[in-house]
């Protein structure tokens, strides 16, 4: 270092010390290059998270492993790069299990911060459902593997007084996780453990007894929402003139009607609702046949028979937006328990071999008026294209209503801790 050199970032020229780390050089000049694993004093840099990827002299490179040199041209904020960074952070979310409302680090988390910074609402990737553990064995800490993004900071930087590693990766590929040496972990002082927690960019390392002032459910954002009167956004009195009523249809396929009950749970606000929407085909109104196109169709339950399939396909044809509501529609739910058993076994157990059936005189019902059973339960999206999913068993009324309002009128929404019905 010493010499000053000229570099260009997004078209602007800057003079920076030669050999300086690009992330630092940019930061000193007011340009933020997102980074999750970069830690100034770790040398050489880790280069694991890749969120700092920029284009340097036309090549994709992580900025944190670049030393600036004279004439270097860097692109930081092109639409392509912004999207790439966003997708990398989304990958971390789809691979882990980040449930911020119940996370000790929430509000103080680099990953969460980065997600906000990049404008992430949902990930473009399906959730990967990695089976990960929460490790309670260490003495000072708890390791919540679901939240680890494998930045490698703890591996490199958490050492005992005699220089031994406390953390090291185990396994490889998507099975990689941070292993803990329980013997060495014991030797960490309280301060060292807290330092480890603070060094972790996520809420993966939690020190027992010191991480949270307020228990879950009692924190500010558990209790209060910006949307206090969420269902009264369009009160009768000042409904915007000429606002079109939206048309809604619902169906219950292989479900228990629980999701429909949940829809009704919005209680008195139903009265407001009829000002805003009209029903088409739906068991709620007992309208049996479609009479026209609908803006939105809500489907409860998966498909267990040919009639379900027909109904679902009809909904697809008639609705602009189709939503799977509840676990049964989303992945099959309770009825899908029979998917592990051949259909013939189910039927024979029910109609031929069961204790209450009459000896010899038994038949498996088959009649042209009866819907034909499918070999297994199919979630709705395996039959037709589903645009959105509302999980929960059943999803709470306000969850459904907020989602529907969002889909129909683009209204922003957030869901309170108490409104989740996922567990």
């Amino acid at each position: 270092m010493g010499e000053m050199v000229n570099i260009k970032i997004d078209g602007k020229s800057f003079t920076v010390p030669e050999g300086q780390n690009l992330v630092a050089a940019a930061k000193n000049n007011g340009i933020f290059i997102p980074s999750l694993c970069y830690f100034e004093h770790i040398d050489p840099p880790l280069g694991t998270c890749r969120t700092c990827t920029c284009k340097t002299d036309g090549k994709f490179q992580p900025a944190c492993t670049m030393e600036v040199y004279d004439g270097l041209t860097v692109e930081v904020n092109t639409p392509e790069l912004l999207d790439m960074r966003k997708s990398l952070v989304e990958m971390m979310f789809s691979e882990g299990n980040h449930f911020c409302p119940s996370c000790e680090k929430s509000g103080n988390c680099d990953l969460q911060h980065m997600a906000y910074e990049l404008g992430i609402r949902v990930t473009r990737f399906e959730h990967l459902f990695k089976d990960r553990l929460i490790d309670y064995r260490p003495e000072r800490i708890i390791m919540e593997h679901n939240r680890c993004i494998k930045c490698k900071r703890c591996v490199e930087d958490v050492l005992t007084d005699d220089g031994k590693k406390v953390f090291t990766y185990q396994g490889r590929g998507n099975e990689t996780f941070v292993g803990i040496d329980y013997q060495e972990e014991k030797k960490l002082t309280e301060e060292q453990a807290i330092a480890a927690m603070e060094l972790c960019p996520t809420g993966a390392i939690i020190v027992r007894g010191v991480s949270m002032a307020q228990p879950f459910g009692e924190r500010e954002f558990d209790i209060h929402s910006e949307q206090k009167n969420f269902s009264r956004r369009f009160p009768k009195s000042n409904k915007p003139a000429g606002m079109e009523k939206k048309v809604l249809a619902t169906a219950s396929l292989a479900g228990c009607f629980g999701c429909h009950m949940s829809m009704l749970d919005i209680d008195t606000e139903l009265l407001d609702l009829v000002e805003l929407i009209t029903f088409n085909k739906s068991p709620l109104t007992d309208i049996k046949k479609f009479t026209g196109r609908c803006h939105i169709g809500l489907i409860e339950g998966g498909c267990c028979n040919a009639e379900n399939i027909e109904t679902l396909k009809e909904f697809r044809n008639m609705c602009d937006i189709l939503v799977s509501v509840g676990e049964c529609a989303v992945w099959g739910g309770l009825p899908a328990m029979r998917n592990t058993i051949p259909l013939s076994e189910c039927l024979e157990e029910a109609y031929l071999n069961c204790a209450t059936s009459e000896q010899g005189a038994n038949l498996v019902p088959y009649h042209e008026d009866l819907p034909k059973l499918l070999d297994k339960i199919y979630p709705c999206h395996e039959i037709v294209k589903i645009d959105h999913f509302i999980p929960g068993c059943p999803p709470s009324a306000s969850h459904i209503w907020k989602s529907v309002k969002h889909l129909l009128w683009g209204e922003e929404y957030s869901i309170l801790y108490s409104e989740f019905k996922y567990d």
Binding site: P44, P45, G47, T48, C49, R50, T51, P62, T65, D83, M84, S87, L88, M91, M92, S94, E95, E126, I149, K150, T160, K164, K165, V166, F167, T168, Y169, Q170, G171, R172, G173, N174, E175, T176, G179, I180, D181, Q183, A306, I309, K313, R316, N317, L322, P342, S344, L347, L363, V364, P365, Y366, K372, L373, L374, D375, Y378, E382, I383, V384, K385
Partner: protein, 584 residues
């Protein structure tokens, strides 16, 4: 097991220690780990981290006989499933477990470098090839009745397919130990580097980096010690050319290393041999011993004052990413083989931070031949700008799988003709990380001239041929699973991205996908490629994206092309078939 060099720290012996334990007990116990950790004065979890990286190391007993079945796509089409079933039946195990008596352990492993003799398996790291159900039954029965495993297998034939061009062979011509090294007495290190430049020799490990540049760079660094590492990890599925060189011409390889040492001023050489090729180790070691006796290794080699060079073998333990040069260095140092950042190149700071050359087996053999034959003779074969010959491992749907030595410039069509390919449709060139071509591209030449913008095809060393009955999606899915499992897991796009891609392909295979899913694959492939840390992630989606573009018509049959919101994979008749049997 050969001793380490005196300057290597104890930690470099970690892999060898673990191998010893694995061989002795069939697994590595907690006690072993604590003990090794204490000896090396590192924490146990660090040792565990290394053990868990390699799939040939087990933490639970892996059976008196440990069977590894090759699950590459080539094996898949040659009867993998039948063989698997036969092994399960005969041994009483299920895949991934050990039978109740602890006699047999059955596991799968990616390509073991025997795709020309597929289906194949390793049993206690000895190769068993061309398996069929009867053979499996026989092998297991014999083992049960106490037969000596060494009596049950033969070394696989090297399967070099002679070509009409054999007059111009570079590699597979007669070989006399020392004929290249003796030429060194007549030249200077700079001459050697010049020879390489004049023959355009470039890295045969797949990256085609000019070898002379690498050697010259390494030569320019001053250091007390330098290393030559031979990359004999050959992990790319469908590639087995290095196996044949190691088997037939180990001496030529060692001469290549000696020449490299001469050129850059190195004193130590290490052959990093993949664990799957453990059965070649004794033979290579014997060649090293012979060379020592002949004065071709050791001190004042070939009478050159002060030219001292020694070679040892390091056995890998099953991890594709070890083939990445910096990961290999990590592995040799007794760390988890996570590729390094490109903060330093190995030529500057490599093994133990000393300047290090890492070259592929074929590159080193070619270097030896160049010095032996001279530039003019070498350049007679091949094309101007792409001289010499190339070894290509051919496997899949053809009648003559094996290793072909071909002059650069041959066309795909000619190669298909030579190997007697049957109805070829989809060809995977240079392994899963390479590129795929369709038969309509058969008139492309195979050469290095693509670097000059010609439409030629650069081939790293393998050619997997698939006929028109093969489902392309199955091939791609096999590759995707391979990358998912073999990713070192250290960087986000590769660890998580390859998993996401595999899920998408499963969706496509099950016909649950739509056009947007195909677009996603192409876009995400670009993201993974652009942001990954090492070559594994940078190449894992190459063929996939190419296939989407080249075989669009095929993929259209897997999706809901009409975009009417119906999912293509659902078939009402099939879904109702079970119930229809109750129709009276």
């Amino acid at each position: 097991m050969k001793e380490l060099f005196h300057l290597e720290p104890a930690r470099s012996s970690l892999l060898n220690r673990l191998w010893e334990l694995q061989h002795q007990h069939g697994f590595i116990s907690d006690h072993d780990i604590t003990q090794i950790a204490a000896e090396l004065q590192i924490s146990s979890v660090e040792v565990e981290g290394v053990v868990s990286f390699y799939h040939f190391f087990h933490r639970q007993p892996s059976g008196k006989y440990t069977i590894y079945l090759d699950d590459s796509i080539i094996a898949g089409y040659k009867g993998y499933h039948r063989i698997l079933e036969a092994f399960e039946r005969e041994t009483g195990t299920t895949l991934g477990s050990v039978d109740r008596t602890g006699t047999f352990g059955l596991f799968r492993t990616p390509c073991i470098g025997l795709s020309d003799q597929s289906p194949a398996a390793l049993i206690n790291f000895r190769p068993f090839t061309q398996l069929n159900v009867i053979k499996v039954k026989d092998i297991i029965q014999q083992l049960r009745s106490g037969a000596d495993i060494d009596q049950l297998y033969q070394l696989p034939p090297s399967n070099v397919c002679n070509t009409p061009y054999s007059a111009m062979n570079i590699f597979f011509r007669s070989y006399t130990p020392g004929s290249a090294v003796r030429e060194l007495a007549k030249c200077q290190p700079d001459d050697v580097i010049r020879f390489l430049r004049e023959t355009n020799l470039s890295g045969r490990g797949g990256a085609f980096y000019p070898t002379w540049k690498k050697w010259e760079a390494c030569r320019s660094y001053q250091a007390d010690h330098k290393f030559i590492v031979c990359n004999a990890d050959e992990g790319e599925p469908g590639t087995f050319k290095d196996r044949v060189l190691l088997q037939d011409l180990p001496g030529l390889l060692i001469e290549g290393m000696i020449i490299s040492a001469f050129a850059v001023g190195a004193q130590y050489g290490i052959i990093y041999l993949r664990g799957e090729y453990g059965w070649l180790q004794d033979q290579i070691q014997k060649t090293i011993d012979d060379f020592n006796e002949l004065g071709l290794l050791g001190s004042n080699i070939s009478g050159i004052k002060g030219f001292n060079f020694q070679v040892r073998i390091q056995l890998g333990a099953g991890a594709y990413v070890c083939g990445e040069e910096t990961a290999m260095l990590e592995s040799m140092e007794g760390h988890r083989d996570e590729p390094r950042t490109k903060w330093f190149y190995p030529v500057e700071k490599g093994y133990l931070q000393y300047p290090t050359i890492v070259n592929n087996v074929e590159t080193l053999c070619a270097a030896a031949r160049i010095v032996e034959l001279g530039v003019a003779e070498y350049n007679k074969a091949g094309l101007p700008g792409s001289p010499g010959t190339k070894l290509i491992s051919v496997s899949g749907d053809c009648n003559k799988p094996g290793v072909y030595e071909l002059p650069w410039g041959i066309t795909v069509a000619e190669l298909l003709e030579l190997c007697n390919a049957v109805d070829p449709n989809f060809i995977q060139v240079s392994g899963p990380s390479g590129e795929c071509i369709s038969i309509s591209e058969k008139f492309r030449r195979i050469s290095m001239l693509d670097l000059l913008g010609k439409p030629d095809l650069r081939c790293g060393g393998s050619f997997m041929i698939f006929n028109k009955d093969r489902e392309i999606i199955d091939i791609l899915l096999n590759f995707a699973s391979f990358f998912k499992q073999e990713s070192c897991g250290i960087c986000t796009p590769c660890r998580s991205g390859n998993f996401i891609i595999e899920r998408k392909l499963e969706k496509l295979k099950n016909k649950l996908a739509r056009q947007v899913d195909i677009d996603d694959i192409v876009n995400w492939g670009h993201i993974i490629r652009s942001t990954s840390r090492c070559g594994l992630g940078k190449t894992s989606c190459n063929s996939l994206v190419m296939a989407m573009q080249k075989f669009g018509g095929y993929f259209d049959t897997l999706i809901d092309k009409k975009e009417n919101g119906q999912i293509a994979g659902f078939n009402m008749d099939e879904a109702l078939a079970d119930y229809e049997q109750y129709k009276s």
